[in-house]
Symmetry: C2
Subunit: 723 residues, 2 copies
């Protein structure tokens, strides 16, 4: 990214006033010094430079934790994250006799700590280096799409392989601004992680799916884990002789909590945003992508409900799928509702027009910008022309038992290549995760449901126009050359499910180790269908890679134009979220979700008793309810403006999925909360940030401390944190 012109920026800041805008932006740490004036105006008391050092306090206390974020809070490797991020490890240790999920868990001493879910890893970033030149620096400008894709892919894989060679680290190349910049990030991978403390599920998930994305919220979404290393201080597998990892730094919990309008910042690993998409892409999302997703989810939910109606065992197998589909439905519908609040396409079109207008005033750049935009739109239109085919084939080939078969067939195909040339996700480094996935499939599979879902997907595919279908699948389905309906689908599906052994875990693992020749020769109907589909999938992959290669030229050009345009206006540009560490700042702030309704930024203990109905997910534990009713120990944690202990709070920091568990810091860099959700009205902000209603939801450390002190008896952990 080009340097910002500080003079312009300061002028713009002065003109806007310190509180004129909510502070959109998921900033790369190295950008923080550029924002120094703004940060100070907002209330940052640390030197902004302190926030640019990935390997110094406070950022080196912030770590990747599964798909979440966590932070170290003691010199002995104690870390805090969301309850929902630790859920796998809590469930892993739960048995009907000792139901930790329901009852919560507290290790009285380190010896009582329990091993986390074995797939759990803690990633401590220890190096970040820009590798743009090494990836695209020497690529000829006229390289075609497919070759460009391969060159970028190969360069990235080589960098990762080099980086990981010494062992004990995990490396990844992160793409910024659609390929304008690349960074190689090296992270220490700690494999021995243990569960230290989790509140009861009725606290940690209070409100459950009903309150998901909602405010007001009263969720104790925190849990404590501890990272361990071998006696030599190096990452090691779980072992009794391991010792707590001693992080280079850790966060201090603030003694004084926040009040309304106070400065806050959040450091974490946001997953993905689309802030620089074109107007045409927003229109596509509104008119096709999200409505289609909602429609398919509704169908999926209705099929699962129907097929499991009288079969509780099958219903349990799909409980996780149902929960995630419902979550997805709310997410996608939330995007549509958010787009409808604003003139989403119009806003993007105006942005593009402003950029082009500025570029025109720079002479030749105007034509360049117009050409880039036109070329991008042409690529997008080409992709849109096959979007139905791609979406519905994706539904068929990625889910359920057929998805497993396709994965096994693809693995064998990739295995026939040298490791470095294999697709991402099919390399040797991915083997343990893939094996675990194949094993866990048994817990969420029922052949009757699987078959009904596949039947529905195939019907949708069959209903596509002929130019959106493929010869291979048409032939398998018995769709005539005249486009007639699939013949005997039920019979075909009977045979498909009768003739496969992939429902059996041992067989799945057996085929995972098989060669391409063995799989092709396999006497398994599902693997045979996967073999039929493989050429289709590879063909689509080719198309995608060629398009990605072409986009890898166009997107960076567009982003460079955007960055230059904004620099001229004194506005720095942050990249779209891509799972790399970011900092966002803002203030504690409520909002008005609709006419005549105001949401205050803090919820209270009393609100828990108010919501408590005794029925899940609003069944607070009896000891918590009585502690609240008695007003026990409120004093030290009381917030004057609400005359109670604050439970959750809202801020206007700019976050998205992946930020869960992120530490929320005050102006002194002290821990005041844990981010755990965004509000429903903010969902479309993944595309267009709407400052009026975009809020993040945090659990207040005062609530966490009050619970640990008054309800869960976790005083020793508070002391370990220096409280």
């Amino acid at each position: 990214m080009r340097p910002i012109l500080p003079a312009f920026f300061a002028a713009a800041l002065a003109a806007a006033g310190p509180l004129a805008h909510a502070d959109e932006g998921m900033w790369q740490p190295h950008q923080m010094p550029q924002l120094a004036d703004l940060l100070k105006a907002r209330g940052l008391q640390l030197e902004p430079e302190a926030l640019s050092e990935l390997t110094a306090h406070p950022l080196n206390a912030v770590i990747g934790f599964g798909f979440c974020t966590a932070s170290f809070v003691s010199p002995q490797g104690l870390l805090v994250t969301n309850h929902h991020c630790a859920l796998g490890s809590i469930q892993y240790n739960s048995t009907p006799e000792r139901n930790l999920l329901r009852d919560g868990f507290l290790a009285a001493t380190p010896a009582d700590e329990l091993p986390a879910d074995p797939s759990m890893r803690v990633y401590v970033t220890d190096e970040i280096s820009e590798v743009t030149e090494r990836i695209v620096g020497e690529l000829p400008a006229d390289l075609d799409g497919r070759a460009r894709f391969d060159a970028i892919d190969a360069a990235g894989k080589a960098l990762v392989a080099d980086c990981e060679a010494p062992g004990g680290v995990r490396c990844e190349v992160y793409t910024f601004h659609g390929g304008l910049q690349f960074y190689l990030i090296r992270r220490l991978e700690l494999r021995d992680v243990r569960l230290v403390h989790a509140p009861a599920n009725a606290v940690g998930e209070f409100g459950g799916e009903i309150d998901n994305f909602e405010w007001p919220r009263h969720t104790g979404d925190y849990s404590f884990m501890r990272a361990y290393v071998g006696a030599d201080g190096r990452p090691a597998d779980h072992h009794a002789d391991n010792v707590p990892y001693q992080p280079k730094s850790w966060l201090r919990v603030a003694r004084d909590g926040l009040a309304e309008n106070d400065f806050v910042m959040v450091a974490g690993y946001p997953g993905s945003t689309n802030r620089y998409r074109l107007a045409s892409e927003v229109r596509d999302a509104i008119e096709w992508l999200y409505p289609t997703r909602v429609e398919v989810i509704d169908e999926t939910l209705s099929i699962i409900a129907g097929e499991t109606a009288d079969r509780p065992d099958a219903a349990i197998r799909y409980a996780g799928t149902v929960a995630s589909q419902k979550n997805g439905r709310k997410l996608f519908q939330g995007h549509l509702d958010g787009f409808a609040r604003i003139d989403a396409v119009g806003i993007k079109a105006a942005e593009e027009a402003a950029l082009l207008g500025w570029a025109d005033r720079q002479g030749e750049r105007g034509k360049q910008a117009r050409d880039t935009l036109a070329a991008l739109n042409a690529e997008l239109a080409a992709a849109a022309a096959t979007r139905d085919r791609d979406f519905h084939l994706g539904q068929i080939g990625n889910g359920g038992l057929l998805g497993v078969a396709v994965r096994l067939r693809r693995q064998a195909h990739e295995n026939s290549k040298p490791d470095a040339e294999r697709e991402l996700g099919y390399q040797e480094r991915d083997r343990p995760r893939n094996q675990a996935m194949l094993r866990q499939f048994e817990r969420r599979f029922d052949p009757q449901v699987d078959r009904a879902l596949l039947a529905a997907r195939l019907q949708r595919y069959a209903a596509l126009p002929a130019d959106q279908r493929t010869t291979e699948l048409d032939r398998w389905l018995g769709i005539g050359a005249d486009g007639s309906a699939p013949a005997d689908l039920a019979r075909r599906l009977d045979a498909l499910y009768a003739g496969t052994g992939l429902g059996d875990t041992d067989q799945r693992l057996h085929w995972f180790a098989a060669s391409q020749e063995q799989i092709v020769a396999a006497d398994d109907t599902m693997l045979k269908l996967a073999d039929t589909l493989l050429p289709v999938i590879l063909r689509l992959d080719e198309e995608n890679k060629a398009r990605s290669g072409r986009m890898a030229v166009l997107r960076p050009r567009f982003m460079q134009a955007m960055i230059d345009f904004r620099a001229a206006e004194g506005r720095p540009v942050y990249p779209d979220a891509n799972n790399s560490l970011r900092i966002t700042f803002g203030r504690v702030r409520g909002y008005s979700p609709r006419d005549a309704v105001t949401y205050a930024p803090f919820t209270r203990l009393a609100g828990i008793n108010e919501k408590h109905s005794g029925e899940e997910p609003f069944a607070a534990p009896a000891d918590q309810l009585s502690a609240i009713a008695e007003g026990r120990g409120v004093g030290p944690y009381r917030l004057a403006s609400i005359d109670d202990v604050p439970v959750n709070f809202l801020s206007d920091v700019d976050t998205t999925g992946g930020n869960s568990g992120s530490p929320t810091l005050n102006g002194r860099g002290e821990l005041v909360g844990l981010l755990f959700d965004g509000n429903y009205e903010s969902l479309a902000s993944d595309w267009i940030y709407n400052p009026a209603v975009t809020r993040s939801i945090h659990v207040d450390t005062r609530y966490m401390r009050w619970m640990m002190e008054q309800v869960d008896g976790a005083g020793h952990l508070l002391r370990e944190m220096g409280l």
Copy 2:
């Protein structure tokens, strides 16, 4: 009611401070002078005495209108009420070709006004007199329950007959404080009522059932009618020669609207409250009455949905039933939710204990109060012992086709007595209304649905313990002496529905005119079942009357004790609502429905565009949306605090069903709004007034005027109102 001690009252007022309490109370007009200090402190600028005169301004402008309230707003008989109160008349004039309900209606001149629904009556109260002495003054103290009931009943009927003898008036005896006081109210009955103006349904019912009882609200719930009389000035049937009724007074619409915290008062005809019920009655409501009602409604809704699933014609017939059942469900569940917000039984128990404590300190009164309470509780316990029987027999005998048969059978039974001795509802004066009901039954009847509902009711009855059932119905159902399940219910119902002609309107009207002998001899299975049930119903009636007679001694004693106790505390007592004219006052005020959520007291025009989705009930008319989007004509109606035209507002006046359409007046007695609903959180306030959350919902006259001026072109009506 005994006089209040002004000294005590003033002291209590001074101690409490003018805004310490929301002002609970549906006051009788004659009580207003007693509240003079409080009213002035709150902001009343009229002399309180002006509010005690039923036959002077402003109260004589406030009139009963069906089950609603309305008010005169011009010297030419123009009256304003809620859109939902005028709905019957709008529907009556609607045709597929000229859909007034959908499009709204505006009479350009009086000649264009349309006749109201023929059953519509306007009642102008013209005399009110206490008749307590004439009803219970000479009853011996030791009269038994049944005889006391009859004596009160006969005295009331005689007073009504005398009063109505001159014609053109409707008289009724109203019971206050459970029989401590009786008032005879005479009202002029105007029969020629015409529709003048209604906004489009999408305005008048904006938000529909979804927003029912909800805030924030954006409903244009107003309509205009006009009352006509004969050329001689006396009430007359609809006729072209009739002339507008000239009311003695009419309300002026305020030029300046309200702001938050402003004083408001509402005059109207609230239907029924239970503010002086005992703790045991509240417990019964929480544990049995409302849960049972909700359960039966859920069953009813599910049966109607199932039986009309593929039959749109049948679905239309039950659309009204479904709407009212859903409304009832929300109402009853709202009661339960409201009770759960407070310690409802505990509050009542504490009130009773305080009363008894005070009575104990008065010497002998303590024992009297305790005896009364014990006797009341014994009567209530006796009633509770048969509550299941009474409730489920009521469900069987009052609804559907069997309900019609029972009504016809009962009418014939009553017809055999002199008119004055007949039950209320079966007298000659009730004939036109009963005939209309029998005729209209055809629009909401389908034999398949009716049969399924009756079957479910009978199953519920059959499941009652033997001592809650009756020999007659058990025999009809074929329930064995051993309490075995009803035999062949389906066959019995087949025969019941095959052998009745009551589905036919002519036959219903025929039997309405029949003698008891003819009905008993009728060859109609449904009438035969009604004949079987009649002795049961009469027996239950006897029990009820005897209990009512005994309660008619006990309730007044309890209320007298309550009145004396409160008088000693300086607190006047208002009677429970009973459809008589009441005044309530308070201020414009939002509330917090739950932790961290605040409701502002005014909604804005912008909120209509926000809620507008294009789908009913959120499909605002295009001309309204564009007027809002353009900000057309906002100036004169703008409320500074919201920078927009206020649409609806909240106040803490104390109202209930029947208050719909009531004029909302400012401190000068000018019209500032029309009450049209209460919020969900207030529903349990019918039993226990909860000042924190009890709010009434009003349409702001500024919205009404803006709509009439900017959207509906009703300037001539605004001018008629002097604007």
